[in-house]
């Protein structure tokens, strides 16, 4: 654990070394997020409520999404490179280390722009999310579950690179999860909705936790926790299984 902590601290120090660049990229991402919120304000101002969702629900959904995406894509940025590392034989150096491979890989790299997401999500909830003690607790619970689902899903699709080689589906899966998580799942109907609760579990990343913040429900809370644990375990299992098929790239990289 200490080794992982030190590695993560090193990754943070790396991005922090260029402070001007750090704050520029963080600011750009925050502006990006603000524009999304402006879009949603314009949308709901014009159309009113849509299938039970209004701007307040959307604020919570967006706060959960940006905070959890900030943690995963910012703090564990290598999760998006797993497939490339697996295919290009880029894991050689990591495999020699006396630490668990996946956790080390994940904390090895920090991506600055996504830190902007993390900061924005927290501030958004604090300023516009009506943060009563209960809502703060449920929000934190929702963020933790969303982080577990995002992480597990991205590790699983990234690990497909071990099995299928060239893996363009990994990028597609990433975009699909983030895209569908950005919208209330109730906008969709029928088969698409089933798809978003199963194959691409976007409904559990943001919509269900956002509904829990507005209206806590013990049964649904347990269901979300179970799904999060299941997806994370699936990601871990896929990586472990895939790693057995890994072949060296005869290259020595820092991953």
């Amino acid at each position: 654990m200490r080794a992982l902590g030190r590695t993560w601290a090193g990754a943070w120090a790396e991005v922090w070394a260029n402070r001007r660049g750090f704050w520029f990229q963080v600011s750009v991402m925050i502006v990006n997020d603000v524009i999304w919120i402006v879009f949603w304000y314009l949308f709901f101002d014009r159309v009113g409520e849509v299938r039970g969702w209004d701007i307040d629900d959307l604020i919570i959904l967006f706060a959960i999404l940006t905070t959890s995406a900030g943690v995963v894509l910012g703090g564990m940025a290598n999760v998006r490179r797993l497939s490339a590392l697996a295919i290009d034989g880029g894991l050689d150096a990591v495999l020699t280390l006396p630490t668990a491979t996946l956790p080390h890989l994940l904390v090895r790299r920090v991506e600055t722009p996504s830190i902007g997401d993390l900061l924005f999500g927290i501030v958004l909830f604090v300023v516009l999310g009506d943060p009563t003690p209960t809502r703060v607790l449920v929000f934190l619970f929702g963020v933790v579950c969303a982080v577990m689902i995002l992480l597990g899903f991205l590790v699983a699709i990234g690990s497909l690179g071990f099995f299928v080689g060239r893996n363009e589906g990994s990028d597609l899966g990433f975009h699909a999860l983030l895209l569908f998580s950005s919208y209330p799942v109730d906008v969709f109907g029928g088969a698409v909705k089933v798809f978003l609760y199963t194959v691409v579990p976007a409904g559990f990343v943001t919509s269900v936790p956002a509904q829990l913040v507005a209206d806590p429900d013990p049964a649904m809370t347990a269901a979300v926790a179970a799904v999060a644990a299941g997806v994370l375990a699936f990601g871990w299992f896929t990586f472990r299984t895939g790693l057995r098929r890994y072949t060296s790239g005869a290259g020595w990289t820092a991953a």
Partner: protein, 264 residues
């Protein structure tokens, strides 16, 4: 004859790049699926909103909104999202400097290569988009307007391509255009009408947005495809294409001069 020689390298570049893109069907398939996903999400959102508002929003029916979104997305998704960053990296890393050694203009050749790359993607998006819009939204609201949307869509992608090169040209001076694409894409998303018809914006904001070049990159073809017979939109697009060409060539000329004077 000399003009023929002058244009030939660019034609070859377009053909070569298009052939390269076509040689990677899986890449095209991924681009097509991504396009359909985005289109499905946004058109689902707007169609739901329209049905919750008596079947119409700011003069757009649910069908018109599906055609609007399918067209606006095709105009945007046909080009790489991070084009500005890629061009900026090429400038900052010195790749553009090596291109100066060739007996051919840097900017037109770069544009030609990108045209070759986007044409197959655009074709995939158009085929997928028309199929999707017809299936989900129904037949196009107006055949003449849809016919006008075809050249408008080409102009939209062309303006976007040239204008992004002009924007990325800032890397000649600041050496790092990373992150700038975020801002650009969001300007196109909202002020360009990619996420929403500009009529949804508050009146003053809509007026400003319609006076900016971003509207020529998504709103114009989408407005036509959604059944509004407004041929003057094509003239506006031609105007913005001329402006974008002038600005980008000025930026690249000045940037290249700077590289030659100071060294890379």
């Amino acid at each position: 004859m000399s003009e023929e020689r002058g244009v030939r390298p660019y034609r070859r570049a377009i053909a070569t790049e298009a052939a390269r893109e076509l040689a990677s069907p899986s890449g095209l398939a991924v681009a097509g699926v991504f396009y359909l996903m985005v289109t499905a999400v946004l058109s689902g959102l707007w169609a739901t909103a329209a049905s919750a508002n008596g079947g119409e929003i700011v003069g757009y029916s649910a069908t018109a909104l599906v055609w609007y979104i399918a067209t606006a997305e095709a105009a945007t998704v046909s080009l790489p999202l991070r084009l500005i960053e890629e061009v900026g990296d090429d400038i900052a890393s010195g790749r553009v400097t090596s291109e100066l050694l060739r007996p051919i203009s840097v900017l037109p050749m770069r544009i030609a290569v990108r045209i070759g790359a986007f044409l197959p993607r655009l074709a995939v998006c158009v085929v997928g988009g028309v199929g999707f819009a017809w299936l989900i939204g129904g037949s196009p609201p107006d055949a003449l307007a849809l016919a006008l949307a075809a050249p408008s869509l080409l102009l939209a992608v062309g303006i976007s391509l040239v204008a992004q090169h002009a924007f990325a040209g800032m890397a000649f001076w600041i050496a790092d255009a990373k992150g700038a694409w975020f801002l650009w894409s969001k300007l196109v998303f909202v002020l360009g009408g990619m996420l929403l018809p500009l009529e949804v914006l508050p009146d003053t904001m809509a007026t400003v947005a319609k006076a900016l070049p971003f509207m020529a990159m998504a709103y114009a073809p989408a407005r036509l495809a959604s059944g509004h017979v407004e041929p003057w939109l094509l003239l506006v697009q031609v105007f913005w294409l001329v402006v974008a060409c002038w600005v980008s060539s000025s930026v690249f000329r000045a940037g290249e001069r700077r590289l030659v004077q100071e060294g890379a």
